[in-house]
Symmetry: C2
Subunit: 219 residues, 2 copies
DNA sequence: ATTACTACACTTCGAGTAT
DNA sequence: TATACTCGAAGTGTAGTAA
């Protein structure tokens, strides 16, 4: 058993901030090893100063110590460095139909001209919508949402407000484009809206349900 | 040996993007185990589909496969979630004098009213500037810069453009405030601009050179 | 020089079981 | 109910050595 997995189990239950209730058998079945082994591992982790324990009536209160936290943070930093250095966020998903509103917005001069000046291309009037299938892919979009990207400011016209949009230059199956994150979107984390100088459906011969790979270069 | 450590060693050498040259004895001495054990582990990892290998003349070319990459990403996501959930960025620095432009901007109604509506407080007209001393603290600011935060839009007046500003609610020595990240700032990564409903210098009895702690709650 | 086999020590595993 | 002990099996470690 990798001790990181043990700490991960505890950390997910909040054991970094406060003592949490655990039983060795639940923990074992969750991690795929026996109750006995968990018991032994907790004793070892305690000896090594990674966790502290206090016996409850029919369970233990376990907390991750600063030593344990430091160990986890080291691994986290190493992993983050490796993946951030490569500086790519890759998402996979399936082509789906949009609500045609992307087409409308991208045909507005105020948007398309700003995009031209900020991203260096005039967007084809329309967006390609991609449904992200796995949780990992949605997490990637969440990460994008938390980043700044290239902002295309909103505007008002005839009493109506058109919200701002953030863009993240990307490659979709090798073709230049950008992921669109509207300030106010109809879609959740599971749908990616893509613009491109090209009509992507035509250019990549895409139909609904086709698999595509979107690569965003970050940093 | 935790297999994550093996993948970490390879990942640090760039084995996610391309095959890298390694020898079992170097890898072993770096990881603190024998050449023989590394040899056996690499065979195991290859069998498990985590890495691919090709024999060179006096070394191996090793690359992490998509399976191995996925394993690493899972661990990374789990760790990031655990630490991001706790959601605090803490920075330390010393109070320094600003250029008095913060005072000017915060006295503009367009800004202060928007801040009132978005952050829930009317900013004292002035910013507290903090010089971040360590690289770690600057890295924290960099992380903030890459996040979205609460956006206060810019505006135009009399032909002049006032840029937008992003805010991150924070506590400074326990007092409510917000870190300001102007779209176009005079300051680099090493200076933090803070606003608050209070005159922080008065309220916290601060003089230039005093140490302060800024805690930003994220997520 | 390298990798990786064999052999054997030591560690970690789960089942049974005491508490 | 829970934890954690003993003990035989399986896994992981290094040394020696072949290729």
């Amino acid at each position: 058993m990798e001790i990181l997995n043990l700490l991960l189990y505890l950390g997910k239950r909040g054991a970094i901030a406060k003592p949490v209730t655990i039983t060795t058998s639940k923990m074992g079945s969750k991690l795929g090893i026996s109750q006995q082994s968990i018991s032994r591992w907790l004793i070892t982790l305690e000896k090594d100063g990674m966790i502290s324990r206090e016996k409850g009536i029919r369970s233990y209160f376990v907390q991750i110590t600063p030593v344990g936290k430091k160990y986890m943070q080291e691994k986290r930093n190493e992993l983050n460095e490796i993946f951030e250095r490569s500086g790519k966020i890759v998402m996979r998903g399936k082509v789906v139909s949009g609500m045609l509103d992307g087409k409308y917005y991208m045909s507005l001069k105020k948007y398309s001209e700003k995009i031209k000046s900020r991203l260096g291309f005039k967007p084809y009037p329309g967006t390609l919508n991609i449904r992200l299938d796995t949780i990992d892919d949605s997490q990637c979009k969440k990460k994008l949402c938390a980043m700044k990207g290239t902002e295309i400011p909103g505007f008002r016209r005839g009493g109506r407000t058109f919200g701002s949009v953030r863009c993240f230059p990307c490659r979709i199956s090798g073709v230049k484009g950008a992921v669109l994150i509207p300030e106010r979107s109809h879609y959740g984390l599971e749908v990616l809206e893509i613009i491109s100088p090209f009509n992507l459906r035509q250019r990549l011969k895409l139909s609904n349900g086709d698999d595509v790979k979107v690569k965003v270069i970050v940093g």
